[in-house]
Symmetry: C2
Subunit: 182 residues, 2 copies
């Protein structure tokens, strides 16, 4: 989902906003309404997803939507109001792959400040190898490590998560990996 | 920071929005502009902070701002655009406590869907026991486990993080704890 998040008008009254320092000691310029003075904060978005695994294989989805249409991804999407990170990750896995699975532990937490996002992936144990992908996915299929289309992955966060997954699997121990992507 | 996040007017053109299903297959009602059709997504916010420790003591800050003015908290605040979770956690620790420290690993990741927030805390090793708190903090001081004002803590996420911190410390091993708070 790409969309223009720039704030031009006040969400409360519709008047134009101006970029300036608020009067409360805040040190960052904000979009402030020129009429009612509402301060509009702009914050990072969370992307939540899973590493669905079946034996030594991992489930990837071929994207049917922009951006990166035709590239392969782990099931993931924007976290919604009213859900937790793990609930959102499970929802995206159901929507994009039509998979059946049991949620496991938080696996990667990756900040991508350049685009204002934090990506959180959970491991998920598949309980079936039959998938019923939604309209956002062209194809959902299982890959062994040496079959992963490394040059056809949609996002850097997917590549990093898969690399950590197979490394931890070889080491026989999974932990949570938190890091920044410049 | 409490503020009304309800979207009444379009951020692009200022016209009124209506709550309805978008035309793209989305299954949730969104605030959609009645004039230019811009879809406004509302997403959870991240709160980032630290557990600053000095020997067997932990640093808490007495809040000088609402909500929970006068209650004790770990240094934390809303993550900003352009920073990572750990950069935001470090910034809040500097702003609220004026502490000197070295950032360590991600410690807790707590979803609070009822208020649309995710709280992420890092451990941070203090390199000085002298603090210079900002205007948001009445007092910053160190507490041993048996001195923690458990009934005077500002937030449930602070209590949960401190409980996990002292439990892991006793066990001699820190890991990342991810869970939901109903
Ligand atoms: Zn206004
Ligand atoms: Zn509009």
């Amino acid at each position: 989902m790409m969309f223009d998040r720039t704030i031009r008008h006040c969400r409360q009254c519709g008047a134009l906003v101006a970029r300036r320092l608020p009067d409360d000691g805040d040190t960052k310029e904000r979009a402030i309404c020129t009429v009612c003075n509402t301060v509009h904060y702009e914050n990072p978005l969370n992307v939540v997803g899973t590493v669905p695994h079946w034996g030594e294989q991992v489930l990837l989805c071929k994207r049917n939507i922009e951006p990166r249409k035709g590239k392969w991804t782990l099931p993931a999407g924007f976290m919604e109001l009213g859900e937790s990170t793990s609930e959102g990750a499970a929802r995206e896995t159901t929507e994009e792959a039509g998979a059946q699975f049991i949620m496991e532990d938080l696996f990667t937490v990756m900040s991508v400040p350049r685009v204002g996002q934090v990506h959180l992936y959970y491991r998920a144990r598949l309980t079936s190898d039959v998938f019923d992908p939604g309209h956002e996915t062209m194809e959902a299929r299982l890959f062994k490590e040496d079959e992963i289309p490394w040059d056809e992955l949609a996002f850097r966060t997917v590549k990093e998560t898969l690399e950590h997954y197979f490394a931890d699997r070889r080491a026989g121990h999974f932990s949570t990996h938190a890091f920044d992507i410049a």
